[in-house]
């Protein structure tokens, strides 16, 4: 029932805004549901009443409210995000219970808990009323503390915050509305307490301090109006701004836990769930120069507005540093991939007949160097020495045939043609009937392991480490110092980073830079980024080469032909492949075996 006790005309802006955003959100979810394939819908229906929903709920609390992943990277940002999200959430929940306890009615109007202090000013005794009053002030204080921190930081951009993204107009408008909400709530409730008494440690104290001031009465209604309007404006802007991530991220987490596999659905949810936190901006190698911005935070913002440009789609190196730090785990490179596929005509040619090397069938190891591997014959020669030392029968499948894993085509959006190349490579590899397939290129390795399950597929760092562990080859340790550079495709994409390092530690002393492993820098040669200009590549490569030379090792070791080429071109320190470093340290006894 709507009565003067629970309604005042000033609540209308908020109510309209809130209704609008709820309808918009429901419409979005229904649209996604409609476009989801049958199989995924079935999966969701079967998963709703299982433990996966509980797990999702746990993750929602950890990520959407507490922002655990942001905390891990950046305490300051974590606190800011948490104070808003958690504080606001608690205001809503506690406010709901407060009004419920007070009225004993489950169905209070939507605005009632929010403006409770307007409708029920002053001190009232009801169950737990003191607790509610203090708790509501506590959450408000939490939010305001985050806001003050953010404000101070804005005045003096320092180390903690690094590069800050520049947002579009609608985002800035939404942000302004958001910045007004809580100070206005504080003011409205304090003035109310000043007139009627009551209030907690924050609003009550301020209320007492200003009590009796003659202006209070004339401020009372305008402040409640302003509070409601700022809420209303903010809510109306939500669907068009980055703040849509607040409701959407929960759905994304649910969809992931329910096993939704449809790429388009996940991509849309991820696009909407990006909070524009800007963490990706700080790690993207392309953000350091003066090149036009294309980092996920900007790309996704433009994509939502339907205004992404060529640089957004073709300017990303695909180094995955951004995805590594993204608190929402937005797979921005996949989103870009989908845009590339829209830009390029899709065709699926028949694969050319694969070479069937009759004479060499039944080898232990089938090796694939790949097109990049042809640029680094030193690696191939080193692998030959290692395999001979291990006494294994091996064959390079692309010895006299040009074979391709298809990745370059894939990265230019031509997935069908890429698949045809991979089919041909797969036939050729399996025709050798090997016990194991080894690639010396992490890019090919990732492609092959995704395509072949009939045989173990290894990157040569893993394979060689295994040969050493099994005692098939023996290496000797020397006084040399080494710096190992983790290739993007190996560390971040294939999660292989500690084993190459521990293997290299058997032949020399490692001097690693601060950021290595999954945090390693990109060599600048990454295959993506067709729109990255030559001089920028040079800048990227030089920066990484410099970075890797900082620890001062005698040799830089890497495990990717592309990294090797990019770094060697710009470093004074010699650069070798992992296989070359191991082959050089083979014990002669093991070579003579």
């Amino acid at each position: 029932m709507i009565t003067p006790d629970n309604f005042n005309i000033f609540v209308i802006p908020f109510t309209l805004g809130m209704t609008f955003v709820i309808i918009w959100l429901l419409a979005t979810i229904v649209r996604l549901w409609r476009h989801m394939p049958q199989a995924d819908r079935r999966r969701v229906r079967h998963s709703i009443l299982t433990v996966s929903t509980l797990r999702a709920a746990g993750e929602i609390v950890a990520e959407v409210l507490i922002h655990r992943r942001i905390w891990k990277r950046n305490k300051f940002l974590g606190y800011m995000h948490m104070s808003f999200a958690f504080g606001w959430f608690m205001l809503i929940v506690v406010g709901k219970f407060e009004s419920l306890t007070y009225t004993g009615n489950h169905f209070n109007p939507i605005w009632y808990p929010l403006f409770f202090k307007f409708f029920v000013p002053g001190e009232h005794e009801f169950f737990l009323s003191a607790f509610f009053t203090q708790a509501m002030d506590l959450w408000l204080a939490l939010i305001l503390s985050g806001q003050i921190l953010a404000f101070v930081k804005r005045r003096m951009p320092g180390r903690t915050i690094g590069i800050r993204p520049r947002h579009t107009a609608v985002n800035r408008a939404a942000l302004t509305a958001l910045w007004f909400i809580f100070p206005l709530r504080l003011a409205a409730e304090s003035v109310t307490a000043g007139i009627h008494g009551g209030g907690g440690f924050l609003t009550g104290t301020i209320g007492q301090a200003i009590a009796g001031a003659p202006v209070l009465d004339s401020l009372f209604m305008p402040l409640w109006w302003a509070y409601s309007i700022s809420l209303g404006v903010f809510f109306v802007l939500i669907p068009f701004s980055r703040y849509f991530h607040i409701p959407v991220e929960g759905f994304l987490i649910l969809a992931r836990h329910w096993g939704v596999s449809d790429e388009a659905t996940i991509r849309t949810l991820e696009t909407l769930a990006c909070s524009a936190c800007g963490m990706c901006l700080r790690v993207c190698p392309r953000a350091q120069g003066d090149a036009p911005r294309m980092q996920p935070v900007y790309f996704i913002e433009r994509l939502r507005a339907g205004r992404d440009n060529d640089n957004d789609v073709w300017g990303c190196l695909g180094c995955l540093r951004c995805e590594e730090v993204c608190p929402v785990v937005v797979h921005s490179t996949q989103i870009r991939m989908a845009r590339k596929m829209q830009a390029v005509p899709q065709r699926r040619p028949q694969p050319a007949p694969a070479p069937v090397p009759q004479a060499r069938q039944g080898v232990d190891v089938a090796l694939f160097a790949g097109c990049m591997g042809k640029l680094t014959p030193g690696t191939k020669a080193a692998m030959n020495r290692i395999l001979q030392a291990a006494g294994l029968a091996y064959a390079w499948v692309d010895e006299d045939e040009d074979l391709c894993c298809g990745r370059p085509l894939r990265l230019s959006g031509r997935t069908g043609e890429a698949q045809a190349r991979m089919d041909r490579l797969k036939t050729a590899l399996l025709a050798l009937n090997p016990r194991v397939i080894v690639s010396t290129c992490p890019i090919c390795y990732n492609m092959i392991r995704a395509a072949i399950s009939a045989r173990p597929v290894l990157h040569h760092t893993d394979f060689v480490a295994q040969l050493i562990d099994e005692g098939r080859i023996a290496v000797g340790r020397s006084a040399q110092t080494l710096t190992y550079h983790d290739p993007c495709e190996l560390s971040r994409m294939a999660d292989i980073s500690s084993r190459p390092v521990s293997t290299l530690a058997k032949v020399g002393t490692l001097k690693q830079p601060d950021e290595c492993g999954r945090e390693s820098h990109c060599c600048g040669g990454a295959l993506g980024g067709l729109a990255v200009a030559g001089h920028e590549r040079t800048r990227l490569m030089t920066a990484t080469a410099d970075y890797l030379q900082r620890p001062g090792a005698q040799t830089i070791v890497t495990a990717c032909p592309l990294c090797k080429k990019s770094i060697a071109q710009h470093a004074a320190t010699p650069v070798v492949d992992f296989a070359e470093a191991i082959a050089k340290s083979l014990k002669t006894s093991s070579i003579n075996q």
Binding site: L375, P377, A381, R537, M541, A568, Q569, H570
Partner: protein, 338 residues
């Protein structure tokens, strides 16, 4: 040791430095020459035959500056590391051995470096013994060595533009002389190994100076040298110790395979790291070589009294270096007469 009695310090004793020293001493100027190596002559001094002069590089270098010259003193094994302007406007050159030398003018004739062919790993330099650079061959010939002596009917492939005009190496410039040197080397190989076969792989042939085009025709007509327009994409060893090469003939639009005994890489000229002048690295031109004060002041750098001559400014052939060094000497002399 301070030797203030010099008018000019010339850094580098290649043909540019020698030419300028000869000019300046003829004008009565006292010259100190600093050379980082053990002997004078620079790159050219190590070449077996210089086109179109038909004499060895050593002879050419020695003919420029007569052995004993009262006005010129030469310090070998002196590597200049930095230049600074002194309060009286003269310049001081410090060397890595701790010495410093001053004079009113300095002429930079430090030339160029050779591209490190190991950076084009796909061509197999340093991995397969049959892969040589143009510099290796010139040196071996000059020492009287005969690579591939045991082979009958040796096949050679000569690769142009290695470390020049290659965006993958971040080098855009054309080294200018290697087309001519590559063709000259092809005819020379045919003379030295009469049963040999030689193929040159080029991007385009830049036979721009007097006699170059004639050399090219001569190579085809009289020496039966093959020319293929295209880059070699891959080199691999064969079981019989030769090299297997793959390329594309871009005129025919066809892939091409061959087996050769030796692959000769025409390595390009690369810029040295810039010297520091008054604490700052010197200005560089677009190709990374030493830059000059203005498009008209082709021998003066941004620092008063500091001049530059020859291939330190970018690739040049011998004739161009000789002319440029004389111009630089004339400019230096004019500056000293002020």
């Amino acid at each position: 040791m301070n030797s203030n009695h010099n008018d000019t310090i010339i850094i580098g004793t290649g043909i540019a430095g020698l030419t300028a020293a000869a000019e300046l001493s003829a004008r009565g100027r006292k010259v100190l020459m600093l050379e980082k190596n053990d002997s004078t002559g620079g790159h050219v001094g190590q070449w077996s035959v210089c086109f179109p002069f038909g004499i060895s590089g050593r002879e050419l270098a020695e003919s420029i500056l007569p052995q004993s010259n009262a006005n010129v003193s030469i310090r070998t094994r002196s590597t200049a590391s930095a230049i600074s302007t002194l309060p009286d406007g003269s310049l001081s050159v410090s060397c890595t051995d701790g010495t410093a030398h001053s004079a009113r003018t300095v002429l930079l004739a430090s030339g160029y470096g050779m591209f490190d062919a190991r950076l084009k790993e796909e061509l197999g330099y340093g991995i397969y013994p049959g892969v040589l650079t143009s510099e290796d061959i010139e040196r071996q010939w000059q020492k009287g060595e005969r690579p591939l002596a045991g082979h009958s009917n040796p096949r050679f492939a000569i690769v142009h533009c290695v470390g020049s005009r290659d965006l993958k190496c971040n080098i855009r410039h054309c080294s200018k002389v290697c087309c001519m040197v590559g063709v000259k080397m092809a005819t020379e190989i045919r003379q030295r190994y009469p049963d040999s076969q030689v193929t040159n792989y080029y991007m385009d042939l830049r036979m721009f100076d007097n006699g170059y085009e004639e050399l090219y025709h001569d190579a085809q007509l009289n020496y039966n040298v093959q020319f293929v327009r295209g880059r070699i994409s891959e080199v691999a060893p064969t079981n019989d110790g030769r090299l297997y090469i793959r390329a594309e003939d871009t005129l025919l639009g066809k892939p091409l395979r061959d087996k050769v005994d030796a692959l000769v890489l025409m390595i390009g000229m690369s810029a040295h790291e810039p010297l520091h002048v008054d604490g700052e690295p010197m200005n560089r031109s677009i190709n990374g070589f030493v830059g000059t004060a203005s498009p008209v002041q082709i021998n003066l750098t941004a620092t008063p009294g500091l001049f530059v001559a020859g291939a330190a400014k970018g690739p040049m052939n011998i004739t161009e270096v000789l002319a440029d060094a004389r111009a630089a000497a004339a400019e230096t002399d004019k500056y000293l007469s002020r």
